[in-house]
Symmetry: C2
Subunit: 454 residues, 2 copies
């Protein structure tokens, strides 16, 4: 069953690659992680490939629970908003998506920074709303404990609402700049948010006018029950991690089914599962690459990665033995959906700790697709045409080579099949994602609107 729309592609800029051992790979630039020129190269490659966006994950701590992992994995990264702002100056069309946590930030700053990036980039900014996962982050922000999962999402809901109100606090035509009449702005079109909630009180208005996209695109990446609700109510893109077509389909129809409750259409939210592509000119070449990556994983780094993903310390257990008895899902205060996914994978396939970390060291819980450009395209097409995805978040094993291969070998094949764009549809990220520009809440409801200082 062919779709008439095109698939959307994001490039996950984890430097020097999504595989935990990518920095050891012969062709990777191990020091690229703090080298702006390297990010520019990657972003320009993605833009050459007509990707919708580049995406930067983020976190606010070094993970040092496992001493050797601290040595063996890449624990530093540039801050997403500063980095994407620089990339805004060096690119023309590609969307710029940054992760910012609602747990350790303030709505006023977040609204302003994304609005600012939206102006600088001419309407290409996107915010990946996350709630953070680790205790170490709490200790960098004067808190003893990480906020509970439920409270994090409660805070996130309110946070996103306040940010959207701030983006609307200047109507689109509030800025007039009329020199003769000495009227820079029309104050009847500037609105206080006057938000008083459980987590925040924010008077507003924002000190940036309404962004070019109206609202920068909202992305959400949690898949727990409250995560899905947050996405259904507020997000326009959802990043997610599934390994089988069935799981992805279930998630897809679950989330799309929630939209109507909020007066939204299925096309208002694009679902983009992550895929980790290992591309070879032949199947064997791809298999060899995969084996090479597995060899490069230091044991401690593998165990640490897995422990981090399931929020449970596996270092005391024999690496060639099975997973130990794990806590119940309810007791997990990290990422719930990731925990569940890995636990069921280990149970289903009877994997040892080593096999499990080798299995996830690249894709980290996302879908691994391996093969020739044709077979990679087949695998993407299958999910795209069978109600599992509106596009994909591409996570190259190493950079820049892994992305160059995708752009030079896979993208042309997807284009030949009519599955992917051959040129950008519009000037903003919204245009390219096929999302409408949100109506301003204040303009829309004239009865409720009131000038701040009328």
């Amino acid at each position: 069953m062919a779709r008439t729309d095109k698939m959307h592609l994001g490039a996950f800029m984890m430097i020097p690659g999504h595989h935990v051992a990518s920095w050891r790979y012969e062709d990777s630039n191990a020091r690229g992680v703090l080298d702006y020129g390297f990010y520019r190269q990657v972003a320009k490659t993605a833009e050459r490939g007509k990707f919708d966006m580049v995406f930067l994950a983020d976190g606010y701590a070094v993970h040092e629970r496992f001493p050797l992992a601290l040595e063996q994995t890449v624990q530093v990264r540039l801050e997403p908003l500063t980095l994407l702002s620089a990339l805004a100056a060096d690119t023309e069309n590609i969307g710029l998506a940054a992760t910012v946590s609602t747990t350790y930030n303030e709505p006023f700053h977040v609204a302003r920074k994304f609005a600012s990036l939206d102006y600088i980039s001419g309407g290409r900014s996107a915010w990946n709303v996350v709630t953070s996962n680790t205790e170490a982050e709490a200790r960098n922000f004067s808190r003893e404990k990480h906020l509970l999962h439920e409270l994090r999402y409660e805070r996130a809901e309110e946070f996103v609402d306040v940010v959207k109100q701030l983006w609307d606090s200047w109507e689109d035509d509030a800025l007039v700049a009329n020199k003769e009449e000495a009227k820079f702005a029309d104050r009847t079109k500037i609105h206080r948010t006057d938000h008083e909630g459980k987590w925040f009180s924010v008077q507003g208005p924002l000190n940036v006018a309404r962004p070019p996209q109206g609202h920068p695109v909202i992305i959400q990446a949690g898949a727990s029950e409250p995560g899905k609700e947050l996405a259904a109510r507020t997000a326009e893109v959802i990043f997610t991690a599934w390994q089988t077509l069935e799981e992805a389909q279930t998630f897809y129809s679950d989330v799309k089914g929630r939209l109507s409750r909020y007066g939204r259409r299925p096309s208002d939210l694009k679902i983009m599962p992550g895929v980790f592509p290992i591309i070879g000119r032949t199947e064997e070449e791809a298999q060899e690459k995969k084996a090479r990556f597995e060899e490069l994983i230091p044991v401690e780094a593998g165990v640490a990665l897995l422990s981090g993903l399931i929020s449970f310390d596996l270092s005391p257990y024999p690496v060639d033995g099975p997973l130990p008895e794990l806590p119940e899902l309810e007791q997990i205060n990290g990422g719930k959906s990731r925990f569940q996914l890995l636990k069921s994978l280990a149970d289903r396939e009877g994997l040892s700790i080593r096999k499990l970390y080798q299995h996830i060291a690249g894709a980290r819980g996302h879908r691994e697709i391996l093969g020739t450009p044709e077979s990679i395209s087949d695998q993407l097409q299958e999910w795209f045409e069978n109600g599992a995805a509106d596009g994909f978040n591409i996570m190259p094993p190493y950079l820049p080579g892994g992305l160059e291969d995708f752009v030079d070998l896979v993208v042309p094949e997807l284009q030949r099949r009519g599955l992917f764009r051959t040129k950008y549809e519009g000037n903003t990220l919204r245009d390219n994602l096929g999302l409408t520009r949100p109506i301003n809440g204040y303009t829309f409801k004239p009865a409720e609107s009131e000038a701040t200082t009328g």
Copy 2:
């Protein structure tokens, strides 16, 4: 008495100009304030003029206490760190200084963002440490009242210390990226900050390695007693506002005199008063420009500006009458030094409210210098050679023209006199300011240093 060193110049990027009515001026780009291309043009002009840095002021609120002022003044601006990151990509040599308040931010984020900008720009970032001045800002961050002056500075002191520790948390050679030995980092060179203070607990380490400059340059801009102490202990540049040579000399020797107490030399802190230059090819042309600017100030905007600067509402008083009885300095919770300066100016010269706001609508309390390129140069030279300044923060009345005139007419004159550089001395802002690269606190004190996870 000639100095052997050169003067330093900063360009204050207040868009579309430092004069409150700049946006109404015929030659100014009123919509430039949200137009990235305009900032790029200004920054490139400053770089062409071999300025040490461009500087962005900042605040976190729209000031709407005076309804008409909300219409008549520019109340929006791009966020400095995103904007300067974009400019990092579009410039090569010029320093990039952003204001960030310690009252409404977290040390971990601030350390990381400036470190990130420092990497992106190759060592050109600077942080202007301010404590914020207004009640409106508090209400955008879930606080009822603005923090008291004394507490703000107490918090600022601790904030800056934590940030510097975070910048040091990775020693300069901690990142090794040795592929064969599977050693990305040397964990004996990564340090927790383990800060536990009155305002913050921050465990660290930062998740960015030590910035290219060691520490981004620290700028301070308060002139009250605690402001001067903060500067003497932690800052490397101080922005300040004085109108007479004597005041500036007193301040200069006061602050320089405080340095030795902290084991610092006078040359470790550069004092850069603000100047507002009105440049004409002739004296008359400059006078005409000034008169034109005064005409363009709407009364309400003038009164609002003045009220804001002294943190006291003047709108109920006759505009052509004298200043009313003002509160005592102790009761002022905004900028204390600015309050004092304006009050004594009004007393000294017997100015009405209108005359006072006309007087300060351009320079806003800074020094106004008016005249031909030669006379402007004389006025700068006088302060530079007489113990009042190490350089100047240039505040063009309107942009880009006001800065272009400075670069094309005044800079060559300063260069002819041997007062200003003809090419950049080095690659980093520190190099150009003649500041040394700070030694890492952990490397320096091996007895106290300890690996996070040793």
